[in-house]
């Protein structure tokens, strides 16, 4: 026999032998591997980095406590990161690599609704339970997939209470202008806003999409100005919001209510917009002001904020918290079934009710969370304050965005 072929045979045999060993014995020394493709560079890198901080903090806290309790063993967690450079097709390739090459047990989705939907096909093909921290568009969950679990509530849970709040506090507001980024989540959100507004008898006087990467909004703003709206709604990501807000001010647009999602709940928006951020309203799924208690490693919203601040020297925002909560939910699901068996963990995720620092989390049959109400904010005095829900309200709605 050829020597190399003999070595090959040996290797083959040893692999078979290893595989035949009792699974628990092998796993006891090994960490739980979680795959996390993230946009660490490219246009989405601010968001990708935020998410990574959430993941890291969770992993660090769990490992400090000895690891995840899997039956009698404590297993540490290890998150395997890849940078997909804000390129969705690269995210899908890397998700596949994580499953087939790095042999991760579970996955966290890439950032945002679009990339989450694209990569969910990979998790479904290999049957890997996957938690999506930042996908809120129901369109992501309409494929009948069994392995995708999103911790954000759908977009209409932002637009409905926001429209109610405006209706209740500003009866004079009638004319609405919507400018939406032509991208899965921002456009879906724009459409939800239109629906919510029409349902309440508001008049939508302007609804346009802008292309990803638009640098100049001056002409769209000129048109919006000409329609004399009472309420301007802009959807997109933080860089779009900074740009649009600045260019609205350039043209002297003054409006009673201006809503921008997402962006104003991030410190970076307020830093970059300065006084222009004042009275801009927004909504997001979490904020340091919320008060939930959980039976997770962070125990409460307040404690999460404290631990985060201690590590990163700044306040957490909802993307940071979203990163941590997917870890928390996965951990609770694994601990409830005391195994890493994907089928059992998937079943635990689908049927479980998870008390977390983020909010109570339970998933609909489609796989998105429906178990909590995201707060509405307004930037007042250089920071976001909660307007709704009532239980955690910090300030009255202030009108006039100049």
């Amino acid at each position: 026999m050829h020597p190399t072929r003999r070595t090959g045979l040996k290797q083959f045999l040893s692999v078979v032998l290893l595989a035949a060993l009792p699974a628990s014995a092998a796993l006891a020394q090994n960490p739980i591997l979680i795959g996390a493709p993230l946009p660490l560079t490219g246009p989405l890198s601010p968001e990708g980095t935020k998410l990574q901080r959430g993941y890291d903090l969770w992993a660090e806290e769990v490992n400090k406590a000895g690891g995840v309790q899997v039956g009698k063993n404590k297993m540490p967690v290890k998150i395997v990161y890849y940078d997909y450079q804000s390129n969705t097709s690269r995210a899908v390739q890397l998700a596949e690599k994580l499953v087939t090459d790095d042999k991760v047990h579970f996955m966290f989705s890439p950032f945002g609704s679009g990339a989450t939907k694209a990569a969910s096909a990979v998790s479904e093909r290999y049957g890997v339970p996957t938690l999506a921290p930042t996908a809120s568009s129901v369109e992501v969950f309409d494929q009948g997939y069994k392995n995708l679990f999103g911790t954000m509530t759908p977009n209409d849970t932002l637009t409905e209470p926001m429209s109610d709040l405006v209706r209740a506090t500003a009866p004079d507001v009638k004319r609405i202008a919507i400018l939406a980024r032509n991208d899965l989540y921002p456009l879906a959100l724009g459409n939800e806003f239109e629906k919510s507004a029409k349902k309440r008898g508001f008049q939508v006087v302007y609804f346009e999409k802008y292309a990803i990467g638009t640098l100049d909004h001056a002409s769209a703003i000129t048109q919006i100005r000409a329609t004399k709206p009472d309420w301007i709604i802009v959807t997109g990501y933080i860089n779009d919001m900074i740009l649009v807000r600045k260019q609205m001010a350039d043209q002297g647009v003054k409006v009673p209510i201006m809503t921008m999602i997402t962006g104003p709940s991030y410190r970076e928006f307020i830093d970059a917009s300065g006084p222009l951020a004042t009275n801009v309203t927004t909504a997001s799924w979490w904020h340091p002001a919320v008060r939930y208690t959980g039976n997770d490693v962070f125990k409460s919203s307040e404690n999460f904020t404290r631990v985060f601040r201690a590590k990163y020297k700044e306040d957490p925002d909802y993307t940071n918290a979203s990163g941590a909560v997917v870890g928390v939910v996965l951990q609770q699901a694994i601990e409830s079934v005391a195994t890493l068996d994907r089928d059992k963990v998937r079943a635990a995720l689908a049927s479980g009710k998870f008390q977390t620092f983020f909010a109570p989390i339970a998933f609909s049959p489609q796989g998105y969370a429906t178990s909590y109400q995201p707060p509405i904010f307004q930037v007042q005095g250089g920071k976001p304050v909660v307007l709704f829900p009532k239980a955690i309200k910090q300030a009255e709605f202030a009108f006039g965005v100049n």
Partner: protein, 288 residues
């Protein structure tokens, strides 16, 4: 009146576009280098202006000459030390080199400045000029005027100075210029430096208008490309016309087809020009 406002928006934007593209056009026209670094050099200028304003209180418009000087130095050294070594090689080699340098600069800026978006918030803001039916945004107006002044300065430099004539001579016939005693590698370095200088100056101007991040460079590079082809390589007036045409087209595209298609118009026109008038609107051989 809406049309007049849209036209003004377009012209204001177009002036800035010209300034963004002129350095790129110069380097491409004279050195035959497609300078992928150009967008990042603009952003570097913008960051310099941002920090000059927030740390030292220097107004970004006053900072334009300093940003230009700083970037000129960087550009000169890059060309003299690095790019000159591959000047005889096919265009793909210089393209790859500037592409690689761009990756390095972009990532260095991410490390140094983070990827967060920042804007210069002028205090007090410049406000706007309300002319009744139309408004003129002052920071854009001043930036556009300054941008056009810079473009004109380059035009004068190329036509009326010894170094400018040498640059044009090298572009027309490198060997003949060398025989006339022109130090060709030095002219290359000066030209690349000038391109970078204009990028830095443009960056300083746009820092007041657009949010900046190390990752927004690609947007500016893309605009520069389109403008160069619209206006035609090798002429300063061409770049000016190309920039203004692009600005006005995007403005009216937004009005007629919605903001989603405004950028599409520019590229459709670009394709049409490449098909029917590949030299661009005002292109010709040599850089004048």
């Amino acid at each position: 009146m809406l049309y007049l406002q849209i036209l003004i928006n377009g012209l204001l934007l177009g002036g800035l576009y010209s300034c963004i593209a002129v350095g790129f056009s110069l380097v491409w026209g004279v050195l035959n280098i497609i300078n992928i670094l150009h967008g990042s050099l603009i952003i570097l200028g913008a960051y310099a202006a941002f920090f000059a304003y927030t740390e030292l209180g220097i107004h970004p418009f006053a900072f334009v000459p300093l940003a230009g000087l700083l970037l000129f130095t960087i550009g000169y050294l890059l060309q003299a030390g690095l790019i000159n070594r591959v000047m005889g090689a096919p265009v793909l080699i210089t393209l790859t080199l500037t592409f690689g340098l761009n990756l390095m600069l972009e990532n260095a800026m991410i490390l140094a400045f983070k990827a967060d978006y920042r804007t210069v918030i002028l205090n007090p803001p410049l406000g706007m000029l309300d002319l009744g039916p139309v408004v003129l945004v002052k920071d854009r107006l001043y930036a556009m005027v300054l941008a056009l002044v810079l473009v004109l300065l380059l035009y004068v430099l190329l036509r009326a100075t010894r170094i400018g004539r040498a640059i044009v001579a090298v572009r027309m016939d490198r060997d003949a210029a060398a025989l006339m005693g022109v130090n060709v590698p030095r002219i290359y370095a000066v030209t690349f430096g000038l391109g970078a200088c204009l990028a830095g100056a443009a960056g300083s101007l746009i820092s007041v208008i657009f949010p900046i991040s190390p990752l927004s460079s690609i947007g500016f590079l893309g605009k520069a490309f389109v403008i160069c082809i619209l206006g035609g390589l090798g002429s300063v007036p061409g770049v000016m016309v190309g920039g203004l045409v692009l600005g006005v087209l995007e403005s009216f595209g937004t009005l007629w087809l919605g903001p989603d298609y405004s950028t599409t118009i520019a590229f459709v026109l670009l394709l049409a020009l490449l098909l029917f008038r590949p030299t661009g609107l005002m292109g010709k051989r040599g850089f004048e």
